[in-house]
């Protein structure tokens, strides 16, 4: 028998779908288990969720298709983030996409990183113009 696997995903819920019970419908319709690790969803705001999704490979893929069809943006989550300070120019580009608030500019407008808040969504790496953010895993 095929074994269950687990995949960690970062889900971005655009404002227009936060009032729709996406996760509940997913659990009802698809054969997967969802463990919510962190979530911030408010009415009339974009929300995000960090989840472990468990099931057979094919079922996980189907669950992802279901989420995409509902308008959820999916980002694979990695294991470790490294900020290469020598490359950073403190432009702040990463701070606006950091939904968890782990990356921020201090009073002197220097970039600071709070690893405790980081949910490893990798959006910062996508937007960094200096290649200063490395994500492993």
């Amino acid at each position: 028998m095929e074994r269950n696997i687990k995949e960690r995903l970062f889900l971005l819920f655009p404002k227009r779908i936060v009032n729709y019970p996406v996760t509940a419908t997913l659990l009802k319709e698809k054969e997967v288990l969802v463990n919510i690790l962190k979530a911030e969803i408010m009415p009339n705001e974009d929300g995000y969720m960090l989840v472990d999704i468990e099931g057979k490979k094919k079922e996980i893929e189907e669950a992802k298709i279901f989420l995409k069809e509902k308008g959820v943006l999916i980002f694979p989550v990695s294991e470790k983030i490294i900020i290469h300070k020598e490359k950073c120019v403190h432009c702040g580009s990463c701070t606006g996409v950091c939904v968890s608030g782990a990356l921020y500019l201090d009073k002197k407008y220097k970039l600071r990183f709070n690893p405790k808040k980081c949910i490893l969504c990798s959006l910062c790496r996508e937007t960094c113009p200096r290649g200063a953010i490395e994500i492993i895993g």
Binding site: V89, C91, S93, T95, R130
Partner: protein
């Protein structure tokens, strides 16, 4: 009462000049008013450190033996332009390396500035004057004859803040724009940005000496897409959308690598971070008023990059204090903001320029010619 640039330079020479950074003078303006600024301050230093795509460098390698014309030229596999005299070439910041997405002209320029070697390859048709067919050598700032930055467009006077109304994630030159108004990206350093402190470009013109990435460079012309005939804030005179631009020149051999950094923007391409600082002389009370204008009174427009047309929809007007606060309100939603210009480096530039002036290493220049205040930026039209 008025001061002239000559008088200010005289005060710099005597060590009497009062020089403040733009952020310091804004604070002073809030407490004491602009009339006091005119009485007390001679020069205000500004700074910006952002990606300026329209940048590049002219290089003259010196002649080879046998003499060879650099016709089809690459520097570390990045195409350079050789359609000039034999060993003159131009390397543009945004040119991509052959077969690579994340390396380009900006990286070549950064490596040269850091003192590294760059591989120059060229092919040409031999002539009696230039019999050589091929060149494959390493160049660095040490062994080339001349190299200077020549940037057709730097230092925008104001720029749009951008957001994304669509349902898709957008990879833009302003960075990643999250769907459904997920964030707002803005550039310019606001109240310390050079052209915000002299809205009608009274003191900045052709020949004005500037801080260009650590070198002492010059304004050589109005920048491309110079567009001064735009809607201005009635109170401050500052344009509400992108307007004035500068073409700048400076010796690559004098540039500080801290203020010139290559950029790779995923989904867009290569660009170059450049630091620019301009001293603004406080010639009269009008100039004192302009230099004291705070972020709260500098406005820009948020436009929507989610609609892919030349005319992007206007969302709302905001000021830089709101943009710097980290949040703006769009249609009742609290939206995160992010700068694209490094304010940390912009302030460092204003501080270095201030120290240069105080140490008499930098004197102010009278513009040789004013920039055209009637300039209009036209879109492409078929003949």
């Amino acid at each position: 009462m008025k001061k002239s640039i000559e008088e200010i330079n005289e005060r710099i020479k005597k060590g009497e000049a009062v020089v403040l950074r733009a952020d310091e003078v804004v604070e002073m303006g809030k407490k004491e008013g602009f009339k006091e600024i005119f009485k007390k301050v001679d020069v205000v230093t500004t700074g910006t450190f952002g990606m300026m795509c329209s940048s590049g460098a002219f290089i003259n390698t010196g002649h080879f033996d046998p003499p060879t014309k650099l016709q089809d030229v690459t520097l570390n596999d990045v195409k350079a332009y050789g359609g000039l005299a034999a060993v003159d070439i131009y390397i543009g910041a945004t040119e991509r390396a052959n077969g690579r997405e994340d390396y380009g002209g900006a990286h070549v320029i950064e490596e040269l500035v850091k003192g590294e070697k760059v591989r120059l390859k060229a092919k040409s048709i031999p002539t009696d004057c230039y019999p050589g067919k091929e060149i494959d050598v390493y160049i660095s700032l040490k062994n080339i004859n001349q190299a200077f930055l020549f940037n057709p467009r730097n230092c925008y006077q104001n720029y749009y803040a951008v957001t994304n109304s669509s349902n898709e994630l957008l990879y833009t030159y302003m960075g990643l724009l999250l769907p459904n108004f997920g964030n707002v990206a803005f550039s310019t350093s606001g109240e310390i940005s050079p052209l915000h402190k002299d809205p009608y470009l009274r003191t900045i013109g052709i020949g004005t000496k500037v801080f260009l990435a650590g070198a002492q460079g010059y304004v050589v012309w109005e920048g491309t897409q110079f567009n001064s005939k735009v809607e201005r804030n009635k109170e401050t005179g500052i344009p509400k959308s992108p307007s004035g631009t500068l073409a700048l020149i400076g010796n690559l051999k004098e540039i500080d690598p801290e203020f010139l950094k290559a950029a790779y923007i995923k989904g867009y391409g290569i660009s170059l971070f450049i630091g620019v600082g301009i001293p603004i002389p406080v010639l009269d009370e009008d100039m004192a008023f302009y230099v004291s204008i705070p972020n709260e009174k500098i406005k820009t427009k948020i436009i929507d990059y989610g609609i892919k047309k030349l005319e992007r929809p206007f969302i709302k007007e905001v000021n830089y204090a709101q943009l710097f606060s980290g949040w703006v309100d769009i249609k009742g939603k609290k939206v995160k903001t992010q700068p694209r210009t490094s304010i940390y480096k912009s302030k460092r530039i204003a501080e270095i320029l201030k120290k240069w002036i105080l140490k008499k290493k930098f004197y102010l220049t009278e513009p040789v010619k004013s920039l055209p205040l009637e300039g209009v930026f036209k879109p492409w039209r078929e003949i």
